[in-house]
């Protein structure tokens, strides 16, 4: 059967590509993740004087010509797409047979560019001289900075990827904050279920560890300040958790209808069985105290997959390591799964790779599929002090071999109240 119980095309994954602070590629990432290694390090990309948080999961092992969030995000996306498309053996070079669904951080000119414009404007930058946006506009009118214009259009990354990989139609760049990767996957699943396309290229990418982004999160008191050693900072579910660690990464998935994958003889890596979402109208940064949106999100995903909670054998937690998130995620999980909740392994990849923000939903969906394929549960590292209010089996500190785990869910909860849950199944 190529269709599900509702007559919809079954959506499978036939290619994956991944980069995190742990390394590049599925093999390197999986090896490090199951060894319990941390990718968090001291920030070397910009000065950290006066910063309360001086660590991040940066991807700085790949040389790039240009340092800006969209440039680096695009570069990571290109590399993970190369890996995913090569594995899927789909289409031809520069000719991917489906749409591009991209999870992308918001794009904005950065300080390097503002300062370059100020310098070029001729405005006095010594003594009592003042520089205003009028000066920047005058510099812009010289026509010498057109490269900035193209770089900082929101459409620039998607358009560049569409040009390079030959995806079909208008590329969609989506942002639902930390749920973006999940939203992009959901958009791809829906397109295939509608029969719009037999395949879709989904990518989540985020390389926005820069001074201002770090400070913005810091000002919201969202980040861990446990800087020493960096590897100890991200501690989901531990009683002494105090915030998340900003991180970079990218994940690409080739989604395909089961019928198309079979017809091509493609290897099926996993199944996207269901997607659920539910927005939260409670507050801009806090989730509803009753957990209703999170609960509804997971239930919607299970209903979409046609599965009861009993079928789920592993939860890839959103698990950011903020006091609030982990508490609310447990409220949601314990309500949805009832008495089984504490017995279902539920680990957080973010303990090792940090929070890859926009990319997290895609990166962690890939790790969830690798978890099902290998039947090995990646651990939650830095689990030193159990939190009695969160009686969770977080696969503490050491990976665990399992058997018979056929269905996993992957949670993504975003700032601004946007929640996505995916149900992933073995091939």
């Amino acid at each position: 059967m190529d269709t599900d119980r509702l007559g919809r095309p079954i959506v499978v994954v036939t290619g994956m590509g991944i980069i995190t602070s742990l390394g590049e590629g599925q093999a390197a990432n999986w090896q490090a993740l199951t060894a319990g290694r941390s990718g968090i390090r001291r920030i070397s990309r910009f000065p950290i004087d006066n910063m309360k948080t001086t660590i991040a999961g940066t991807v700085d092992f790949l040389p790039v010509a240009e340092q800006s969030a969209p440039a680096l995000s695009q570069h990571l996306a290109e590399r993970v797409i190369e890996e995913a498309v090569a594995e899927a053996k789909i289409g031809r070079p520069g000719d991917f047979p489906g749409p591009l669904l991209l999870a992308l951080p918001p794009v904005e000119m950065e300080w390097a560019q503002r300062l370059a414009l100020a310098a070029a404007s001729g405005a006095p930058t010594t003594g009592d001289g003042q520089v205003s946006y009028d000066d920047l506009l005058r510099a812009a009118s010289s026509g010498k900075f057109e490269a900035y214009y193209r770089r900082f259009l929101f459409a620039s990354v998607g358009e560049a990827l569409a040009d390079r990989f030959g995806t079909k139609g208008s590329p969609i760049a989506t942002s639902t904050a930390c749920a973006s990767g999940g939203t992009a996957i959901q958009l791809g699943v829906e397109a295939i279920r509608r029969g719009d396309s037999a395949a879709a290229l989904v990518v989540g990418t985020d390389a926005s560890v820069n001074q201002e982004s770090l400070i913005r999160f810091s000002l919201l008191s969202a980040l861990s300040t446990r800087n020493d050693p960096p590897s100890s900072a991200s501690r989901p579910f531990s009683k002494d958790r105090e915030g998340f660690v900003m991180a970079e990464g990218a994940g690409a998935l080739v989604l395909e209808s089961l019928a198309s994958a079979r017809a091509r003889g493609a290897e099926i890596l996993g199944v996207v069985e269901g997607c659920g979402e539910q927005a939260d109208g409670f507050h801009r940064t806090r989730s509803s105290p009753d957990g209703k949106p999170i609960i509804a999100c997971m239930r919607n995903a299970l209903a979409d997959a046609g599965l009861s909670p009993d079928a789920v054998g592993y939860i890839n937690a959103h698990g950011t390591g903020t006091p609030e998130n982990d508490k609310m995620e447990w409220v949601g999980v314990s309500t949805v799964f009832g008495e089984r909740a504490g017995a279902i392994p539920m680990s957080s990849n973010k303990s090792m790779i940090g929070h890859t923000l926009t990319a997290a939903g895609a990166v962690e969906a890939i790790f969830s599929i690798l978890t099902l394929r290998h039947q090995v549960l990646p651990p939650t590292i830095n689990y030193d002090i159990p939190d009695p209010s969160l009686p969770v089996d977080c696969v503490p500190n050491v990976a665990r071999a399992v058997s018979g785990v056929r269905h996993a869910i992957s949670n993504s909860f975003g700032f601004g109240g946007q929640n996505v849950c995916l149900v992933l199944g073995v091939a």
């Binding site: 000065p47 950290i48 004087d49 006066n50 992308l104 918001p106 794009v107 904005e108 000119m109 300080w111 503002r114 300062l115 414009l117 930058t125 010594t126 003042q130 520089v131 205003s132 946006y133 506009l137 812009a140 009118s141 026509g143 057109e146 900035y148 214009y149 900082f152 259009l153 929101f154 459409a155 358009e159 569409a162 040009d163 139609g169 208008s170 590329p171 969609i172 760049a173 989506t174 942002s175 904050a177 829906e190 279920r193 509608r194 001074q211 201002e212 400070i215 913005r216 999160f217 810091s218 000002l219 919201l220 979402e277 539910q278 927005a279 109208g281 801009r284 601004g416 109240g417 946007q418």
Partner: protein
């Protein structure tokens, strides 16, 4: 043939320099004269937002304070659309309603930016000083006014739309793709009622800076989008909020609401914009539309004014021989909501059964009754979109 899965527009919220609401906009269009602010951002004219009675759509002052202008514009327009569709207070339906927002980013703190730009070069350790300034001068909540997805977040908070929430980014095509995905989901039974829209605050130096880096802004004096091409073209930006409630016919009938119009088709595509590629996309999109009666059809164009794409679009439109109106002439160009605003004007015109008067000497009058409208959405940089709006 009426079908349960037809996508109908049952609510419109449009705010711009021409007024608050589609009715006020329609009245302004009947005796059009451009509304421009020539001074604030000289030499760049902008179409300023009309005065808004914010309390009517954003009753809590705390909510108003938590937002910057681009979010207030969007949340206000979303409220108007929900009002028009008689959805306000329908907690159950709002809690299941889907939402797709097309958004850029939010305002910066211009005083903080200016102080940093002025002082940076005078420091011994400029990097450390930048950190110190940002840490002490940025308002913690400003981030929440800047994030693209927080327009949708605020709509969830203020209006209670929480079934789903997705934000698309990417200038004009983001707005067109939001409409396309909403219609596709309705047609496939993946959703029944979708709030779709976006907002743009043109009265911001940082967005004008982004446009001017590409040399895309026009200078005074004002001329309509088509007429200004003789002087080299360019965009006059406008502050715009536009939301539509797009609903399956089955749902609209069940709720007993009168639709404005039907979205019979919406197509989006892209190209590198080599000569003729955008025209080829538009031609292919036109060929894929359902049949319409040309004698009773007009074009609502979202052309930005930027010379190359606007002139190519004008040449293509000339081959159709239909009356044309330019949304950007009326309310300025607005990036993400530009296509949505054109859809709103098309839907209102189809419901009225008449096209509004020409806005520019290059636009022909139309005396025949209007039964359908083509809506174009060629982005100022990338993306080509085409929709057919018909009587419901």
């Amino acid at each position: 043939m009426a079908d349960d899965r037809d996508a109908l527009i049952t609510g419109i919220g449009l705010i711009s320099c021409l007024g608050s609401g589609i009715e006020a906009t329609w009245e302004s269009l009947a005796s059009f004269s451009p509304v421009l602010d020539l001074e604030s951002f000289a030499p760049f004219p902008v179409h300023p937002m009309a005065p808004l009675e914010l309390d009517k759509q954003i009753p809590k002052r705390g909510d108003q304070r938590q937002m910057e202008a681009w979010q207030r514009i969007g949340v206000f327009a979303a409220g108007l659309a929900l009002d028009a569709a008689q959805l306000k207070g329908n907690t159950d339906l709002l809690g299941r309603m889907d939402m797709i927002v097309a958004a850029g980013g939010g305002e910066r703190d211009y005083a903080v930016d200016a102080a940093i730009l002025s002082g940076y070069g005078k420091q011994e350790n400029p990097g450390g000083w930048l950190n110190e300034r940002l840490l002490s001068d940025l308002r913690p909540t400003l981030f929440l006014a800047q994030l693209s997805n927080l327009l949708a977040g605020n709509i969830s908070i203020v209006h209670g739309v929480t079934g789903s929430s997705r934000t698309f980014m990417g200038e004009e095509p983001a707005g067109a793709d939001a409409v396309r995905i909403a219609c596709a989901r309705i047609a496939a039974g993946q959703g029944d009622v979708v709030l779709v829209g976006g907002s743009y605050n043109a009265q911001r130096p940082d967005v004008l800076l982004q446009c001017e880096l590409g040399g895309t802004l026009g200078r005074a004096p004002f001329a309509g989008v088509w007429s200004r091409q003789k002087a080299g073209g360019g965009m006059f930006m406008g502050s715009v909020g536009c939301f539509l409630v797009i609903e399956s016919r089955a749902s609209a009938v069940a709720r007993g609401v009168a639709p404005y119009a039907r979205i019979a088709a919406v197509k989006t595509d892209r190209c590198r914009r080599d000569a003729g590629q955008a025209t080829a996309n538009a031609q292919a999109q036109l060929a894929a539309l359902p049949a319409f009666d040309a004698a009773n059809t007009a074009v609502i164009s979202s052309a930005s004014g930027v010379a190359a794409p606007t002139q190519e679009e004008a040449a293509w439109l000339a081959t159709l021989g239909l009356p044309v109106r330019s949304t950007a002439t009326a309310i300025g160009h607005s990036m993400e909501p530009a296509f949505l605003a054109s859809m709103a004007l098309a839907a209102a015109s189809v419901r009225q059964g008449t096209l509004f008067p020409a806005l520019d000497p290059a636009e022909a009058p139309m005396t025949a009754p209007l039964r359908s409208a083509l809506v174009t959405g060629w982005g100022h940089w990338r993306g080509e979109s085409l929709a057919l709006v018909t009587a419901a």
